[in-house]
């Protein structure tokens, strides 16, 4: 590990706080999950062998043990999936009454609730996130999205008055590895509610919950071909995006790939929504409720190991608040529990992949190189698997790489400001614009700030709060289009004026 060489500022507080109470291991049992040896592609309502003949392994990032083999979809497989989606669209789905489509969505939502524990355990095994998060956040929200959009399916004409909403057709959806199940739900629920059929490509490091969802979809007797799931890496996603019979692309992932996608479909008439990277500012004013702000900052950057596009990775602190805040942050970091993601008391789990770990290490090394001051608490990390200590950087300036680039890891860069205007200036001084947090007791200041923030979501005295009814999306290089709420339906609908056509 590159960071091993970096001197750590261990605190003397640690010796004083020798734990007298060791929480015993409290691992969630994995017995509920029945893994197959290998998973085919989900096309036309069936699991099929890939025409490509290729398979890849997906591992548990906390142990590096292989979990299963997964089919790698080639162009021919993607073509079959798109054809299945087109056929399902033409033959059944688009003309099905909204109330009928809703029944399927409700059925899926209820199944997700019933099998929530199984999904949560599998999500944690495949992705490395703490079980308490997959159990309390990912799965409840996934089910909530299906419930929410099921409710809209037969009310589209009321949702868009004086319009004649029609489905777009076949949607190609490419999702990331940080919230595999939740992103699948965010993508599938509005598309299906609006009457589209879908080809979904999960990320190559975390395909398993999407494939379990495919089983749920089978059990829900969704007409074959309405949802197709093709697994694979970048080239599979590329084949899907470039397929000529796809009407709409929805992508969540890195800005880099988002740009490639936008270039590749330029001039094709395909619709596109992108939800990309971020470098969110979490802004703490002197009058903030300090202890809750600390929790918000911790949650903002260490939730899901910082693998969150809207993570509050830049902490902007009003200067008089800097000392007390840093003291409290360091103290709070000592209590964070890093380790086995399946343990119910784990706060920070495993980094999703070796590649991501290397990226985090590289950027953290650059931070030290550029003169920022690093702080990491002492904590024992497991020997196998991919791990990174929660990390704070102070003495960070706007020009440092750690203040500009998305690290997508548990690394917080702390910057100070003097006035609200300076806070706005610094917060907006980034190519990204996905989210922001404001911590102050002053309501008028929250509104003043929110008006001026170039961010799709602005949280006030909280962070990383999601709700299916609330639209989510970016400004600038964080993408365009909104997911969630009424706005989340628009990308999946042709909204011509009534009486048109």
């Amino acid at each position: 590990m590159a960071t091993k060489d970096i001197e750590r500022s261990a605190t003397s507080a640690l010796e004083q706080r020798e734990p007298v109470w060791e929480y015993a291991d409290a691992p969630e049992s994995t017995e509920i999950v029945r893994l197959e040896d290998r998973y085919g592609l989900f096309i036309g309502g069936e699991f099929v062998e890939p025409k490509s003949g290729k398979w890849f392994e997906t591992i548990d990032p906390a142990t590096e043990e292989p979990l299963a083999k997964v089919a790698e979809a080639g162009p021919e497989d993607v073509d079959l999936a798109v054809k299945a989606a087109r056929a399902a669209s033409d033959e059944t789905w688009r003309d099905l009454p909204g109330s009928e489509r809703a029944k399927y969505l409700y059925r899926i939502a209820r199944q997700l609730q019933e099998r929530a524990r199984e999904f949560a355990v599998l999500e944690t095994m495949d992705g490395g996130k703490p079980i308490k998060e997959s159990r309390d956040v990912d799965l409840p929200l996934s089910a909530a999205h299906f419930f929410y959009y099921a409710g809209w399916a037969d009310k589209l004409e009321y949702a868009f008055p004086n319009r004649h909403p029609r489905p777009v057709g076949v949607a190609g959806q490419v999702i990331p590895w940080n919230f595999p199940m939740l992103m699948a739900a965010w993508k599938l629920a509005p598309a299906l509610a609006a009457g589209n059929t879908v080809v979904l490509k999960p990320a190559e490091t975390t395909p398993l919950t999407a494939l379990l969802l495919a089983q749920v979809i089978q059990e829900a007797e969704l007409p074959p071909g309405v949802v197709n799931i093709v697994t694979g890496a970048g080239p599979t996603g590329g084949a899907l995006v470039e397929h000529e019979d796809v009407d709409k692309i929805a992508f969540t992932g890195s800005t880099e790939v988002g740009k490639i996608i936008r270039r590749s479909i330029a001039g094709t008439g395909k619709r596109l929504t992108l939800e990309l990277g971020g470098k969110a500012a979490n802004i703490v004013f002197e009058d903030a409720p300090l202890d809750q702000a600390i929790e918000g900052v911790i949650n903002g950057i260490f939730f899901n190991q910082g693998h969150v596009c809207c993570a509050g990775s830049r902490l902007l602190v009003e200067e008089p608040m800097f000392e007390p805040l840093i003291g409290k942050l360091k103290e709070r970091l000592q209590t964070m529990r890093v380790g086995n993601p399946l343990d119910k008391n784990t706060d920070i789990g495993a980094i999703n992949s070796r590649a991501q770990l290397e990226k985090i290490e590289e950027l953290v090394a650059a931070g030290v190189e550029e003169g920022a001051e690093m702080y990491q608490p002492e904590c024992l990390l497991p020997e196998r698997g991919f791990w990174f200590r929660p990390t704070l950087f102070t003495n960070v300036s706007q020009s440092h790489r750690i203040a500009r680039e998305e690290i997508f890891g548990p690394v917080l860069s702390i910057i100070t400001f003097r006035t609200p205007s300076e806070a706005i200036e610094k917060a907006n001084n980034t190519p990204y614009g996905l989210s922001a947090g404001i911590w102050t007791e002053k309501g008028s200041r929250i509104l003043w700030m929110a008006e001026r923030m170039q961010a799709g979501v602005v949280w006030a005295n909280t962070f990383n709060r999601f709700d299916p009814a609330s639209p989510f999306g970016g400004y600038k290089e964080s993408g365009f289009g909104r997911e969630g709420g009424l706005q989340g339906l628009e990308p999946y609908l042709e909204l011509e004026p009534n009486g048109g056509r």
């Binding site: 007298v20 929480y23 015993a24 309390d136 300090l290 202890d291 809750q292 119910k344």
Partner: protein
């Protein structure tokens, strides 16, 4: 308060601020966001405490317990029985520790002292016109002095919410300082009655006022109103105690009381202490749980952890 008593206390313990500073002290207390505080408390309540760590916590819960009876119907017989239970919670099991203290009305202090002679179990008496705390100041202070003279080791009084909520912080503070003086070498616990304070901001302000006046403990509730200790209000007080320690170097204890009947709740409060105040607070000197029926549930859970089976309730004595 005599000089000798002060030396005996072995720590300064007197007011850390002048009364005229009280208003300023209250006004600069950091605000509390209710949503965030409740979320944090709820997330800590989900910690999964198993096996040996659970046994350790249950043992500590007994050692930190103020076994309490505060009824108008309390009699000598009731208190004699409770004291026996306090010393040996499970007569068949020597490994079960005694509780920290018994907590009762002044009238019964002498009975308890007689019963507990030669044991480490302390006697705590409520005083100061418990539970409203609105008797004449002179009478309230006299009551405190009297129970201390009788030999009570600890005194639980209530914050004057009439003065506090009325914004008369200096007077409120002066009363607390006077109570501190009156309690002499006894440990003073100030009950904030959090269920009546209306907001977490107020709970935090009251905590600071009480700690600054020299209280040894701040305590959530009397147990006499509808809303007793809750996890968020206790967390709010613990955060105040933690910051007070950073600012002044003084460790002030926290006592949660009222409505804590199940082992699971006791463990949740211990998790709050552990992750907010740290291991050094996990001692009866700095953390207490005021309860009456909790003890038997803890005994039952200890048996269950050890044997893998639940015993029927009749295997645990009711006192």
């Amino acid at each position: 308060m005599s000089q000798a008593a002060e030396i005996e206390r072995g720590r300064p313990g007197l007011a850390l601020y002048a009364p005229k500073e009280a208003a300023r002290l209250v006004s600069r207390v950091t605000p509390v966001d209710a949503v965030g505080l409740e979320e944090r408390a709820a997330s800590l309540a989900k910690r999964s405490i198993k096996r040996e760590s659970k046994l350790w916590a249950l043992d500590l819960a007994i050692r930190c317990m103020d076994l309490t009876t505060l009824e108008g119907t309390d009699t000598t017989g009731k208190v004699v029985a409770m004291c026996a239970k306090a010393v040996r919670p499970n007569p068949l099991d020597d490994s079960i520790p005694s509780v920290a203290a018994v907590c009762l009305y002044p009238h019964l202090v002498q009975v308890a002292l007689g019963q507990l002679k030669g044991t480490d179990v302390k006697v705590a008496s409520v005083a100061g016109s418990f539970p409203a705390g609105l008797g004449p100041l002179g009478a309230r202070l006299a009551e405190i002095r009297e129970v201390v003279d009788l030999g009570a080791h600890e005194v639980d009084i209530v914050l004057n919410r009439s003065l506090f909520l009325g914004g008369r912080y200096a007077e409120c503070f002066e009363e607390l300082v006077a109570a501190r003086d009156a309690s002499g070498s006894a440990h003073l616990k100030v009950i904030l009655e959090t269920g009546e304070l209306g907001s977490y901001d107020r709970i935090r302000q009251a905590s600071v006022l009480a700690m600054a006046s020299g209280a040894d403990f701040i305590k959530t509730s009397t147990g006499k109103i509808g809303v007793n200790a809750t996890l968020p209000s206790a967390l709010c007080m613990m955060e105040a105690a933690r910051d007070f320690r950073h600012e002044t170097g003084h460790r002030v204890g926290v006592k949660v009381a009222g409505g804590i009947r199940a082992s699971k709740q006791a463990i949740q409060y211990l998790v709050l202490v552990y992750e907010t105040l740290g291991p050094e607070w996990m001692t009866p000197d700095l953390f207490r749980i005021g309860a009456s029926t909790l003890l038997n549930d803890v005994l039952m859970q200890i048996d269950k952890e050890r044997t893998g089976r639940y015993q029927g309730p009749d295997y645990f004595t009711i006192d």
